[in-house]
């Protein structure tokens, strides 16, 4: 079977439009199963009609991003937290 999804690095450009930090380097925790891991390790479906990033552990949706003309919609319901590395 062919691989249907991309990896989380596919989120870097689209999320870079919204956030000043590289979110793909952050550690996210899945709201469904609690698995924590780098955003870059999520399984990403899309990019059309929107990016859907799923947990590699349980396949539930962790993050969704739709880019329309003049606006983006970001859904983080499936994320408990994002740990963002920052300088001291």
């Amino acid at each position: 079977m062919s691989i249907e999804h991309l990896d989380g690095n596919a989120l870097a450009g689209p999320l870079g439009e919204i956030f000043a930090v590289d979110v793909t380097a952050a550690t996210g925790r899945c709201a469904s199963c609690g698995l924590a891991g780098p955003v870059a390790s999520l399984r990403v479906y899309g990019p059309e009609p929107g990016l859907v990033a799923r947990c590699p552990g349980c396949e539930e949706v962790v993050l969704r991003l739709v880019r329309g003309p003049g606006a983006a919609w970001l859904d983080l319901r499936g994320t408990i937290s994002l740990r963002v590395p920052l300088p001291d």
Partner: protein, 199 residues
């Protein structure tokens, strides 16, 4: 004199009239997915309509196959701007499935194997406008296109035609589905170009 033959020009004009605003004609059948393709064995497949009064109407695969089938030929329009003309399907009209369903609900939330959902007014599923289809282009519907069965509601953008359909929940208030909670339009009429919220 025109170099293009009359017949050819005639067809082009006609096809242009069939294309909603902002769409282009696609001859292939692109696959868009928001998750892994569910695999549903037919002996465990079921379709259910749940009413607002908590009544459930269920069909097994064999029961669905025993119902009268129709073979709609329709144009389909994806919100990602491709349209495909004269797609041929086989399936059961929702009018047949709703025959014994008593409801005063105005809205439907369609749900699928794999967790996908989409919302639309109940009236858009009735009066010959929607089907549960299980064959495409003379063949069994492939899993990547929504097999064993998907909803077909061709007068709305194709994300409303939920793949791997599992059931319909009838509701007195509109409840936005998967893409409708992420910026896409609640109704999605391609002729009014209702792609995103606010369109």
């Amino acid at each position: 004199m025109a170099i293009i033959s009359r017949g050819f020009r005639g067809r082009r004009t006609e096809d242009r009239d069939r294309l909603p605003p902002g769409q282009y004609e696609e001859r292939g059948f692109p696959v868009l997915s928001a998750g892994p393709t569910p695999r549903v064995p037919l002996d465990r497949w079921e379709f259910a309509i749940d009413t607002e009064a908590e009544r459930t109407h269920r069909w097994t695969w064999d029961e669905l196959m025993a119902l009268p089938a129709e073979t709609p030929t329709v144009d389909i329009h994806c919100v990602t701007k491709w349209s495909k003309f004269d797609t041929t399907w086989e399936g059961v009209s929702l009018d047949v499935l709703f025959e014994d369903v008593e409801t005063t609900a105005d809205y439907a939330l369609v749900h699928s194997y794999g967790g996908y959902t989409t919302n639309l007014p109940l009236e858009d599923l009735l009066d010959g406008k929607a089907w549960i289809v299980h064959r495409f282009d003379g063949e069994e519907l492939e899993p990547r296109h929504g097999g064993p069965a998907r909803l077909l509601v061709p007068h709305l953008y194709f994300w409303k035609s939920a793949k791997w359909v599992r059931g319909i929940r009838l509701m007195t208030e509109e409840w936005p589905g998967f893409w409708e909670t992420a910026g896409y339009h609640d109704y999605g009429d391609p002729w009014r170009e209702q792609r995103y919220q606010g369109d």
